[in-house]
Amino acid sequence: MEERNNILIQKFHQNRLEAAEKDELEMKIEQGDISLEELDLFQDVLQATSNDPILLPSARMDHRFYAHLDQLNRKQGWPIKLIGKIAAAILILLAAFLGGRETGTRQEKVPQLSPSQQTLQALLSTKDISEKIHLVSSISLQNDADAVLIDALLYTLCHDESKNVRLACIHALLAYSTLPEVRTGLIHAIQFQESSLILLHLAEAINTSGKKMSKEAFHSHINKSLPIFVQRKLEAVLTHL
């Protein structure tokens, strides 16, 4: 359903909605399946790149985007709205970037991405762990680190394959740990962790946010299917808090 919603939102902003689709979109907004905030997000990103002609994604990009979105949709427990935002941001930024490259010979103007957008784009596109850790750490040093960057850090903390990248995310998020959405995101991230080292650092980061979280409350969020040796080790390390 989320995939369908994104198609409708995209078509809405590209004035490609057919009558039946327009009715469908309105009904989804009425029913709360699509929020106005989601529409605005797309609008903001589109406006940010409005100086350049909006290029429709190629069939290959479409396929990759929906494959990626489908993969994200299958991740358990992650807020679907955020997935949509991140996926949309990737698509639009990628479109702007590639569009700029493709039209570079015809136009002198290239898309100007803000430092935040550049960092996000680099973070999402690199597979190099050293580079990722460097980028993640640099986010906490940026004065203009915005909600999208913080969302990207929280997403990376939950889903990156590398334990070291996840640890770097926790330390980057420490700079923002007093923000309610960061604290909520840190607590949400507990269930995705299988490393006692990460869980220990996560518990510390949550404590640093200044709000009390008991050991029992922390345990209630931990993935119950963790291997027994991880659970035992976790018991041991949490005593060091």
């Binding site: 190099d128 762990i129 050293s130 580079e131 850790i133 460097h134 750490s137 640099s138 590398s162 334990k163 070291n164 640890l167 770097a168 330390h171 007093t178 490393s195 006692s196 080292l197 220990l200 650092h201 404590n207 640093t208 946010s209 200044g210 709000k211 009390k212 040796f229 991880v230 080790k233 390390v237 060091h240």
Partner: protein
Amino acid sequence: MLLIGCSVFGQEEMVNIPFKSSDQAKSLVIDLNEGEVSIVGTDRTDVLVRYQSHRSQSEGEQEGMEEKSKGLSKVSSGTKKIEMSSKENQIMIRSDSYDANLSFAIEVPKTIDLNIDIDFSGNVSIQDIQGNVNVELASGDIRIQGLNGLLNASSDEGDIHVQFVNIPDPKTMMWMTTSGDIDVSLPSDYSAKLKVKADKGDVYSDLNIQFQEKVERVQDTDEDGSFRYINNSWTYGTLNAGGPEIIIITKLGDIYLRKL
């Protein structure tokens, strides 16, 4: 791709894996549940993997086994699936075996990036590598000699010992452990910003570091009126002129930062 189901009881197996291109950047990824890994940078252009399982038995166990198997010949001993593959100049070695006695001795070209992940237990030693190294262990020591590149390393339980010879492209690095020491030798002229924390240990150094203890205090009153105060102490330092950040954390061990 090589898929190897092997009996490796005490017997060393050897596999050569070539890279697709000698000109492009090379990388080696190792993903194990358990095992010892030793990697040495050499002048060779391919990767040579030697592996075996040294199953150790106590004298009593040995005698019991000999009694049970009297008159029989051993035909197989513990089959382990080890997968080795090569794609786009990245060689991957993967095993889902839980065998702490499984060991890999690997020779690689000197110029290579390494990414090692051992989920349960095992030590890693690395020597003479020019490239970036990432090591993630659950329980084990990390020992690296002659590293010419970046290192990111973590171990839930274990020491981290590293001797850098050079860091040609300085970027953020991170070394973390819960219950081990972190002992690092850096070139004396290397510049970095340090963020260091040894919760129950000490920090020692002979490098040119301007240290500054910074205490982050958080004070809060909950809805129920209970008062909460957190004293979170970090040691910040500027090594020489300062530069990319190095984050060093151990919960129970000491930190040693040495001049090379």
